[in-house]
Amino acid sequence: MLSGMAQPALHVHDLAVVLAGRPVVRRVDLDVRHGEFVTVLGGNGSGKSTLVRAATGLVPTTSGGVELFGAPLGDFRDWHRIGYVPQRPSAASGVPATVREVVSAGRLSRRRLLRRLARADRTAVDAALAAVDLADRAGDSVAELSGGQQQRVLIARALATEPDLLVLDEPTAGVDLAHQRLLTDVLAAHSVRGVAIVLVAHELGPLARLVDRVVVMRDGRVIFDGTPDAEAAAFAHTHDHHHPLDPHVTGLTGADVLGTGWQAGGTR
């Protein structure tokens, strides 16, 4: 394990992504170490979502490279070390499924074909459900839950994997403030245990006190990479405040603050 620790959990080198002829990520370098909690901020169209999708192999890279735990993305096979929360409005599909069934899918990267769920799998699923405060809804259909609760189901599915790197793409959209705090604490606890966390968000919110590093993107480039305090100082002149806990800026987004994203349409 120690030899593995020498490598960063995620190593992104000179990465470029072009989608449908349009550059979305341009020459980005990013290293995330074990136990580091990094937030990627940016407005709509800043490329923050595409960056993490390219890092997990969901979007083809145009140039540059991605390494997960020292292995180039194409050769990486230890998918049980990655927990991923996609940006989705809902955890439901065309057929009913219980909360437990959806969260159990988080164990697939650790299960062999044609094997039943082992005790370790069930323990991990129970722990993940408890972590997002949904243990009492385990037997309910996900379609019956509210949007915020469904987001917590998707987060529980990633936690159930017991990953070494957690990648979350705007996981707290639609989650109420109390549960945002709860989730933040859960993530911080994982981070302390050595799990590397990359969290894409619109705004820092309750995360500010817990993240180690803030990466701000604009137009596909990293325009800031440093501590939350330094980020607050660096962007203080663009706007009085941009922490959403501040009552009179609630409703404003990172895009407003950074002055980007108005023309860009959907999240990239």
Partner: protein
């Protein structure tokens, strides 16, 4: 059980049983992927396969399997590469398949009756050789859709998460399409190509009216599928109707029964469900709503449904919740 003394009837019933098990099993995944109409498109394509068999003198069941599997693979590969809008691509295959099928059947000298027997099923057409092939294909479909259930569930539920879990989403997606194609052809003789998709979708739609879990939906859909296909075959024997439409109408009757039942179950669950954890102080301050005075004294065994709500008990009364408070009732 005199009808079981007919050989063709025994074969038709076994074929219906296998079809009734396999079609909803794979159909559950199609519905989950929101591709409920895929089976229809493949059915139309398989007609071209049947016609090729008639034209070349090969067994139509065999040529139908080959053409349907090839077409299903093509549709899925196009969809995965993002080259085809699923909706329009399916429509093109629909029309091409049925047009080529009818044209080629005509060239082969087949009559409208031949065509009808493939489109809507015919009890007397299941030969011993057919039955063996149907059994082999049914075992394949059931083995894959039950054995790989966790993987197929994950791929149909959330393709992106499945990919980051290291699953070969492309392989599983093509597998689902191929299994659907195989199912279409094995159902050809009992339900017919035009209606086979109904046996993949209708039992699933009926099952999910009353279920909350994926596994339960899958299992109940298979039970309903078998019930509809076997009773449909029996009914078509006595009423002298085409088996396909009979089976589908029986399945739809199942849906019509399940749907209001499901509505009742959901209502019952909702009235009895405890409230979400709410900020008690806020909620109590905002919603202190007094109900009208009424003579009834709520309490244990008063006949109203009791629901735990934090530190007290609510009583469901005409669809709202009452809680005793001093000399009156609050609405919760």
């Amino acid at each position: 059980m005199s009808l079981l003394s007919y050989d063709f009837m025994q074969r038709a019933l076994v074929a219906a049983l296998l079809t009734g098990l396999a079609a909803p099993a794979i159909g559950t995944y199609l519905v989950q992927k929101r591709l409920a109409l895929l089976g229809d498109g493949i059915g139309h394509l398989a007609l071209t396969g049947v016609a090729l068999g008639l034209l070349t003198g090969q067994a139509p069941l065999l040529t139908a399997v080959v053409v349907a599997v090839a077409g299903a693979t093509l549709i899925e590969v196009l969809r995965l590469r993002g080259k085809a809008n699923g909706d329009v691509a399916l429509a093109l295959f629909f029309y091409g398949g049925i047009a080529a099928g009818v044209l080629l059947t005509g060239l082969a000298g087949g009559s409208a009756a031949t065509l009808t027997s493939y489109l809507f099923g015919a009890l007397t057409t299941v030969s011993d050789a057919d039955l063996v092939l149907v059994a082999v294909l049914a075992v394949l479909v059931l083995g894959m859709s039950l054995g790989l259930a966790p993987q197929l569930f994950a791929v149909c539920q959330d393709e992106e998460h499945a990919r980051v879990s290291g699953l070969r989403v492309d392989v599983y997606s093509v597998a689902i399409s191929v299994l659907a194609a195989v199912t279409v052809t094995l159902a050809m003789r009992t339900v017919g190509l035009l209606l086979v998709s109904a046996l993949m979708v209708v039992p699933v739609a009926a099952a999910q009216q009353v279920t909350r879990a994926f596994r339960a939906t899958l299992a109940l859909a298979m039970v309903l599928g078998v019930a509809a296909s076997t009773s449909g075959v029996l009914a078509s024997f006595y009423a002298d109707t085409a088996p396909g439409p009979t089976i589908v109408l029986v399945a739809l009757a199942g849906f019509a029964t399940a749907s209001p039942l499901g509505g009742l179950l959901r209502l019952r669950r909702r009235t009895r469900a405890p409230f979400e954890d709410e900020d008690r102080t806020d909620a109590a301050a905002l919603v202190h709503e007094l109900t009208e005075q009424h003579p009834h004294q709520h309490g244990e065994g008063c006949g109203h449904v009791a629901v735990e709500h934090g530190d007290h008990v609510d009583y469901v009364h005409d669809g709202h919740r009452h809680v005793p408070h001093d000399d009156h009732y609050d609405e919760h």
